[in-house]
Amino acid sequence: MGRRKRRTGQLGYHLMMLPGMAFLVVFSFIPMLGIVMAFENYIPTKGIFGSPWVGLDNFQYMIQIPDSWDILRNTLIIAIGKIFFGTLVPIIFALLLNEIRLKWAKKTIQTIVYLPNFLSWAVVAAIVINVFDYSGPINNILQGLGLHPIMFLASNQWFRKVMIGTDVWKNFGYGAIVYLAALTGIDPGLYEAASMDGANRFKQLLHVTLPGILPTVMLISALNLGSILNAGFDQIYALYNPIVYETGDVIDTYVYRVGLLGQQYSFATAIGLLKSVVSFALLISANKLSIKFANMRIF
């Protein structure tokens, strides 16, 4: 009796899982089967099963063309820049905000800095284009300082920097939430003990606050490792143009532009596959490392 009751209970659980799993099968797992396209010369009219098999030709071609190396370099530079400054700035912001005792001011500041995170890159791109315009506010300031105006979004020298900077701008407030939570978790007794021992504010920061948020910092950094080949499609696609393909084209924009618009389905799928495999391997290792060293699991 007891056993049967447990079984029927479990059937209910399976039934609840069913609709979600069905969607995952159709929109996650069936596309994974599409990966075989990377090993063939996919011809839309012949379909996946009818297209000729070419083995590793697509991958060989990828290694041969110089585009690939530019794209890999762009992706890594932009992604690493975003990960580095996108971790550093939220931490600094959280540390500064944590020093403020005025509750309402803290709340107001938080509300304002979280906001850009909730805007679409389509909207933020419009704002960025406006701010970095040739006769826009930033160039006005530059001219005020006696410098020459710069075409930021059409300059191979500046494009990546603008991408990293605007991404940090959009996300630092929101990114600080986790660190602010970690800061409130630090035992106030530690600060009292430290100040008894004569530690000033800077010493307290160094010996109490930073060690207190270190596990969180490590966890977030490990998590970010998986996105090292994700330079941020939405942002770059909304802001780039042919002049800056040289420095701005990243894996995802290239896959869309050459693969989908240029209809080189197989070649682009091969690039996408390589990216998925590397990202997956990085995340799995990051998870292993964080379990081993920080005793925290990402998933």
Binding site: Q10, G34, V123, N130, A181, L260
Partner: protein, 293 residues
């Protein structure tokens, strides 16, 4: 906390305030500038004379916007997408999170399902195979292409699952004693106490659907079907950028700066309206979910 009010301490307080105010201003001013442009005269806007306050204040661009049927159509597509997409996301999230919140002894296949979901979250077939599946199912140019591929927000499911896990088992046992069935327990007990978590993930779903411009670009062949975010993104592609003939069509009518600013401002309004109400939930909800995960 004990704080001496020494000169050094006051000085560092002042520096902290200044840096924080600069950071806040940097987040706020670009948005304010966009709002000001939308309320300014078009000559002043074209000449980049608008700063933080409107120049030649007028409502011309908003009255023009009111008559722009394509904008409102895109707006409606986005509303439709948010309602369908968020509804589906929430139903599936709850249905997946509840069984997954059970222990392995209560639900023996739990870990298998969990691994399937984590694998689907971390690994993907990529943009092109997914595009071909959506196309093969005949979803192109329909609202379903925007809603169905992202029907299961796995990250949100995990957040909700962790919240459900924190609900004591004894609550469920007591309800079962009283003869409550599984669905009754889920809807009458779990969901009401999970309101903060539900508010958090519904905010993520709403904002995610509202803001996504790429799936509109990917799955809609005609600009007439674009959701609002895609419509706004197309405004950014100004004349100087065009080399791609497929974009020319969408840019046939290049509107003026104040009108575009008004479109952007109006497109932000829905997010601005829900965000402050849910802010208190997402800070707690997000932290609970991510730190325990």
């Amino acid at each position: 906390m004990i704080r001496s009010k020494s000169f050094a301490s006051r000085l560092s307080d002042a520096i902290i305030w200044i840096i924080l105010l600069i950071m806040t201003a940097l987040c706020f001013f670009p948005l304010l500038n966009m709002v000001s442009i939308s309320f300014s005269g078009s000559t002043a806007a074209q000449a980049n004379q608008v700063g933080l306050w409107p120049v030649d204040f007028n409502l011309e661009s908003y009255s023009m916007l009111f008559k722009d049927s394509q904008f409102w159509h895109a707006f409606l597509v986005s509303i439709e997408r948010v309602i369908l997409g968020t509804g589906l996301n929430m139903i599936l999230s709850v249905l997946l999170a509840y069984p997954l919140s059970k222990s392995k002894s209560q639900f023996s296949a739990r870990n298998i399902y969990m691994n399937i979901m984590i694998f689907a979250m971390l690994f993907s077939g990529g943009m092109i195979p997914l595009f071909l599946v959506v196309k093969g199912l005949g979803l192109m140019n329909t609202i379903w292409a925007l809603v169905l591929p992202g029907a299961v927000p796995i990250f949100n499911v995990i957040l909700l699952m962790n919240f459900f896990k924190s609900i004591p088992d004894s609550l469920e046992e007591a309800a079962m004693m009283d003869g409550a069935s599984k669905p009754t327990i889920l809807f009458k007990i779990y969901l009401p106490i999970s309101l903060p978590a539900l508010a958090t993930i519904s905010l993520f779903a709403i904002v995610g659907h509202w803001n996504d411009y790429f799936s509109g670009l990917l799955y809609m062949n005609s600009a007439a079907n674009y959701p609002l975010a895609t419509y706004i993104q197309q405004l950014n592609v100004d004349m100087s950028k065009i080399t791609d003939p497929s974009q020319l069509k969408a840019l046939a009518s290049v509107s003026d700066k104040t009108l575009n600013a008004a479109k952007i401002v109006v497109s932000i309004v829905p997010v601005l309206m829900i965000y402050p109400f849910l802010q208190k939930y997402f800070t707690s909800g997000l932290v609970i979910g991510s730190v325990k995960g």
